[in-house]
Amino acid sequence: MYKKDFSSRKYVIILIFITVAITYLIKLYNLQVVSPSLSDKAKGLVMRQITEYPRRGRIYDRNNKLIVYNDAVYDLMVIPRQVKDMDTDEFCSLLEIDTSFFVKQMKKAEHYSRYKPSVFLKQLSKEDYARIEDKMYKYRGFFVQRRALRKYTMPIAAHLLGSVGEVNTQDLKKDSYYKPGDYIGKSGIERFYEKLLRGKKGVRMVKVDVHNREKGSYQNGKYDTLSVPGKDLVLSIDSELQQYGEKLMKNKTGSIVVIEPETGEILAMVSSPGFNPNDLIGRHRSRNYVALQKDSLKPLINRAISGTYPPGSTFKMVNALVALQERAITPYTSFSCNGPESTPIKCTHYHVTPLRLNEAIKQSCNPFFWNTFKSLMNKPSLGGVHNAYRKWYSNIRSFGFGKKFNTDIPYEKRGNIPSAEYFDKVYRGSWNALTIRSLAIGQGEILVTPIQLANLAAAIANKGYYYPPHFLKKAEGEDSLLAKYTTKVYTAVEPKYFNIVQDAMRDVFAKEHGTAHYYEVDSLEQCGKTGTVQNPHGEDHSLFIAFAPKSYPKLAVSVVVENGGYGSRWAAPIASLIIEKYLTGEIKRKKLEKRIMEGDLIHNKNTKSKGEE
């Protein structure tokens, strides 16, 4: 039978084949050559950027004793984009979290970035990590990142060391180095030397498979950067003295600051009540922080630099020195004192009269210093009380009062030395020595910080100069940082005037009627001055400044015990014990030590101290 020839239809069929092939090739060309975004997407799938966190610098004390170091913890990270159908219940029970936490953390992570890793669960312990490690492959998008947590060899110096915590939004805005979840020094040394301590993060690019398992470095580590470990710091702190100071201040509100006059190095800085630095690390940091913040005794405040007090009688030396320098008085000038009947300021002590400067310091005679102050303000050669006051003002400030040292102590307060303009405003231009008489005995508008008081003791010990108080003793390769601490700052008072003040301060201990005579130990050559500061909130603050030994001063101390009463009751013995401890290494006056350590001014009182100002 005849069959029609359809062989030409082969062309139709071949044409269909070729058309389909060309259509596909056009699509392929678009996918492979034209659209570059797919290549990026592919990288996003295969590559994971692993941040290598450097070891944070360790912190040593002046005797190279380790104080702060690091311990490994593990952060569970998540890349939301990679998370794909997983058994959420199993995951939650593995991590011992509840589903609402899971949902919350995922939302948070997605809000930050779908492609970049976020912290899902912070600071798993080594044990927790070992438990979940084997099962992590099941959960795409999750991985574990090693992190370091601060650890303390002894629970001391929480205020000055400061703490490390997660960066907040402000930190992130200020410095692009930080990524959410990073740690940053929040306060104290940790904050001030953050850049030294943190080192430099490194980045490692690795390939991962679909189950999130590492498959080696990406392009042989071409894009990797090494992390640089943080610098270790040696601080001027003597950890033993620091610990001892904290013991002495237990159950008292106030502070101790100890400075080495020869260098300006801070040997100890105690603020009480304090807290255990271990409370502000790890997962419980924020909870503990809130609790400390709510505490009415404000343990988070470093009173040594942020507490401001009227200096009281401890200020009398400064007034005397300024008056001597301006020749308003001489070492031989004597004033009479009527004891409690004195006007306009009465005296709280009974002593010989008339008396000279050395006696006046020894017995803290108020009328003597009122007369001294009056002589200075009314000294004809200074050209009137306003000009005299300005002279006084700048001389006082030369001792470091009314301003910050601006060294390596964050959150320092400047205190207050009122300016002439201030009085002009308050008294509408009409004021004189009598109006501002409180300043003569360190009361009134004057406010100082304990570190300024310790610095005063150091300046007196040095006979006229000081080094800005600081903590840094050594940081490898960072000697330039130390330059500003090795420049002497001179006070406006000539060295020769300091001799009489030093002698008088020595008498405070050495002589029978000295206000701290009870705490005299011959070999220590202690010099000091009490301060009993009137305080509208309750009992007087007990203050003391001291340095020792007189012939070659090794340490200058300021002690403030809020609501401690007389300076000689709490502050003087504490300062004396600190001196004994530092100079001899042991305490012979066990009974005194026991009385101080067991003294409780916080729980045994009806009126609690309010605030630190």
Binding site: M1, V12, I13, I14, K27, Y29
Partner: protein
């Protein structure tokens, strides 16, 4: 007959070489996609590339065997092959093993085989045999019905196995029927139905029917000839409308949910790169990241690290796309097109109708697999799980395609002996 040297001399070596190229290219891709340890031996039977090497060896033996067997054997026993495979397919429905939702495997010892792969060449044999019978005219309705029946029987059985992809392959015989004289209208109608199906899903029944009515009206207005054949045109219009009405029903009630999703994805009706669209999305990323030159052999990180599911079987093209880039894809397309056109050329030179029809069947089946498989990996076709001939991992599919092709090469080598 002069055998021996004759067979070698009359064999179309170009086809054989294209076949070997494709198989080798395929094996390299499987190796790259599945190797873990670069020091392991090539014939490591615990690895897919090792197994595939074994399957290739067996495929070569199969090919040589076919070349040795008398050419008449296949045409003589065409119906026997067909009958046997139909029985096996029924057997699979009863005794088969379910893998990935399809009950299409027979387990023999530790060895599983997929009979639906072999049903293709058997059906092709039977169809060629039937259409080449003397006194058979494709223009007869009865002939058409029987031919379509031969095609539909295995397709239906495979559909019952829940292996939609393999069943759809039988639609490729439309090229064979067309070549043998069935009116092109059938192909056009098929194409039109596909278009209507898609636009109805995309734009809804009402819009499509209004559009059809407007077109029909326009045609009436346009030409006298159409006005004269108004019955035919109106009937066509009504059929189209009925089809459109059936689309939603078929889509919602006949198709399974995953099939609906795959179609919706390809039409852009849903966008869910992490859920139902995951495979295609990952596949496109892998291929797209290959760029112009590709990342190089064994450097395809997405395919190597399992970001593309099924990358050694249905998504093997991703490895080519990622590691060989656009250039490698072009080479693969070239090889396939060359093979297809060569087969059509060889088919046309056959004296025997059986050989010619069979040859067209081979080209059609290979083309359908090629188009659907690659179309799926680049997002131009819904995901239908059928292998890329000679490339995808798997013994059954490699052997079935080898048998399919080499029966034709044998027929061609024997063409001069046909009167």
């Amino acid at each position: 007959m002069r055998k021996g040297a004759n067979i070698l001399a009359n064999t179309d070596w170009l086809t054989v070489i294209l076949y070997l190229y494709l198989v080798f290219y395929g094996w390299l891709s499987i190796y790259s996609a599945t190797f873990d340890d670069p020091n392991a031996p090539m014939l490591d039977l615990s690895q897919r590339y090792g197994k595939q090497l074994l399957w290739i060896g067996l495929a070569v033996i199969l090919a040589i065997t076919i070349m040795i067997i008398d050419a008449k054997f296949f045409s003589a026993f065409a119906y026997w092959f067909y009958g046997f495979i139909i029985l096996v397919l029924i057997g699979v429905l009863i005794f088969g093993k379910t893998v990935a939702g399809s009950k299409s495997w027979i387990q023999i010892g530790s060895f599983a085989i997929q009979p639906s792969e072999f049903a293709k060449f058997a059906t092709n044999l039977a169809l060629a045999k039937f259409l080449s019978t003397l006194n058979i005219d494709i223009r007869d309705l009865k002939t058409k019905i029987i031919a379509v029946g031969i095609i539909f029987l295995p397709a239906t059985l495979i559909l019952l196995q829940n292996d939609t992809g393999s069943a759809l392959v039988y639609a490729s015989f439309v090229f064979v029927l067309y070549r043998e004289g069935v009116s092109g209208v059938f192909m056009l109608v098929g194409l039109l139905m596909a278009v209507l199906f898609v636009v109805t899903l995309l734009y809804g029944q009402v819009a499509v029917i209004v559009f059809l009515a407007l077109i029909t009206g326009f045609l009436f207005w346009l030409s006298d000839k159409i006005r004269r054949n108004y019955k035919f045109v109106a009937g066509f219009f009504l059929a189209a409308v009925m089809f459109v009405f059936s689309v939603n029903y078929v889509f919602e009630n006949v198709l399974q949910p995953h099939q609906r999703n795959r179609i919706k994805i390809i039409l852009g009706m849903i966008n869910d790169p992490r859920g139902v669209g995951y495979n295609v999305n990952q596949s496109k990323i892998a291929i797209g990241s290959g760029g112009f030159w590709g990342k190089g052999f064994k450097e395809g990180m997405l395919t190597r690290y399992h970001f593309v599911p099924e990358q050694s079987t249905d998504f093997i093209f991703c490895t080519v796309g990622e590691e060989r880039g656009f250039v490698g894809s072009l080479v693969l397309f070239g090889l396939f097109l060359a093979l297809l056109i060569r087969i059509i050329y060889l088919a046309e030179r056959q004296r025997s109708e059986f050989s010619r029809i069979y040859g067209y069947g081979v080209a059609s089946i290979l083309f359908f697999h090629f188009a659907v498989n690659i179309g799926m990996t680049i997002g131009l076709m819904p995901v239908v799980g059928i292998p890329l001939p000679f490339f995808s991992y798997g013994g059954s599919s490699l052997w079935a395609f080898t048998i399919l092709l080499f029966i034709f090469i044998k027929q061609d080598a024997n063409r001069l002996n046909v009167l």
